[in-house]
């Protein structure tokens, strides 16, 4: 009889799911083979541990500990949200100041700037200093003459 064949079915034999010829064959083998019989005993006592581990004891404080953990987790979340809110407000203020400064810089008057000079496009953003188009043409024609 082949030991490895019988080994492969031992767990099913021990849990009682073998029947008929298969069951008989394993039983016969266990009677004849000392090594397999020893392994079957060890396997059974190993699997019996599952039944012992399934037993749970009563623990009145378990729910309290979960509730305490729950409140702690909620407090952490609230703290995190508050932190994010403050960080967002601070970022908005910094962004506002930065944008304001840039707008101010762009629209600040440049009295010394000569219109048409390369790199001085900013001049045209300032209406106060923009020349009326009529003056521009008048100036152009007087130069031609």
């Amino acid at each position: 009889m082949n030991c490895s064949n019988e080994h492969s079915d031992l767990i099913f034999y021990l849990e009682g799911s073998l029947s008929g010829e298969r069951k008989k064959s394993v039983e016969e083998h266990l009677r004849a083979c000392e090594e397999c019989s020893a392994f079957a005993a060890i396997l059974k006592s190993t699997l019996d541990i599952i039944e012992e581990e399934k037993k749970t004891t009563t623990d009145e404080d378990f729910a309290d500990r979960v509730m305490a953990g729950m409140h702690q987790a909620q407090a952490k979340t609230i703290g995190l949200f508050a932190y994010i809110r403050y960080a967002a407000a601070a970022a908005a203020i910094v962004l506002g100041v930065f944008t304001g400064l840039n707008i101010a810089r762009v629209t600040t008057s440049h009295p010394d700037t000569v219109p048409g000079e390369p790199g001085d496009e900013v001049y045209y953003l300032n209406d106060m200093y923009q020349e009326p188009i009529e003056s521009f043409f008048l100036l152009k024609y007087s130069d031609d003459e």
């Binding site: 492969s8 099913f12 396997l43 599952i50 012992e52 581990e53 399934k54 749970t56 509730m67």
Partner: protein, 192 residues
């Protein structure tokens, strides 16, 4: 009719959980503490780890109950969270301390009248059992723990694992074969 009543009760319970009512939290803990603890013991093999893990599972359940859509029963949903958290726990544990296995749970369950030798043998068997369970691929591990530690039917396991009953049958068959092989090699090596 009974199903309708049960559904109504479950809906009320879920609504109370979403509203954050402590009474509902305690009701869920009272009903699911033992099954969740058993499941955690099956995955971790340690009473202390199982206790910590079970607490984390309930906190996760309560914090995410707003996302419960009612596609499955509340118990199936809780079991899914429990399985996912347990698998994550094992992954983290294996990443942190590979092979550093403890069996406190088993020591606690040992009977007082056991001799020291018997306790050592049982401790060794518990260690072997949980090493064998952890050596299984995750889906075989999950099917085995749900079947053996929760005595669940194939249909319930299939529901939790979102697979078919025939897949569960196949997973359990392979899990048992692999477990047996691991234990055979383990004892053969350690008894020489």
């Amino acid at each position: 009719m009974n199903n309708y009543k049960d559904n109504n009760k479950e809906n009320e319970l879920v609504n109370s959980l979403v509203a954050g009512r402590e009474k509902a939290y305690r009701q869920v803990i009272g009903k699911y503490r033992d099954p969740v603890l058993r499941l955690c013991k099956g995955f971790t093999g340690s009473a202390d780890d199982a206790e910590d893990l079970a607490q984390d599972i309930f906190i996760e359940v309560f914090r995410s109950v707003g996302r419960f859509k009612g596609d499955s029963s509340l118990s199936t949903w809780i079991y899914r969270i429990a399985v996912n958290k347990s698998l994550n726990f094992i992954r983290d544990k294996n990443n942190k301390a590979h092979g550093n296995y403890t069996v406190e749970g088993y020591i606690e369950n040992s009977k007082d009248d056991d001799s020291a030798d018997q306790q050592l043998i049982r401790k060794d068997h518990a260690r072997a059992l949980h090493q064998a369970i952890e050596s299984l691929p995750e889906n075989q591990n999950t099917a085995f723990v749900l079947s053996k530690y929760e005595d669940m039917s194939y249909a319930d396991i299939a529901d939790i694992m979102q697979t078919s009953v025939s897949s569960v049958e196949s997973l359990l068959f392979r899990a048992k074969k692999n477990l047996q092989k691991f234990l055979y090699d383990y004892y053969r090596k350690n008894m020489k």
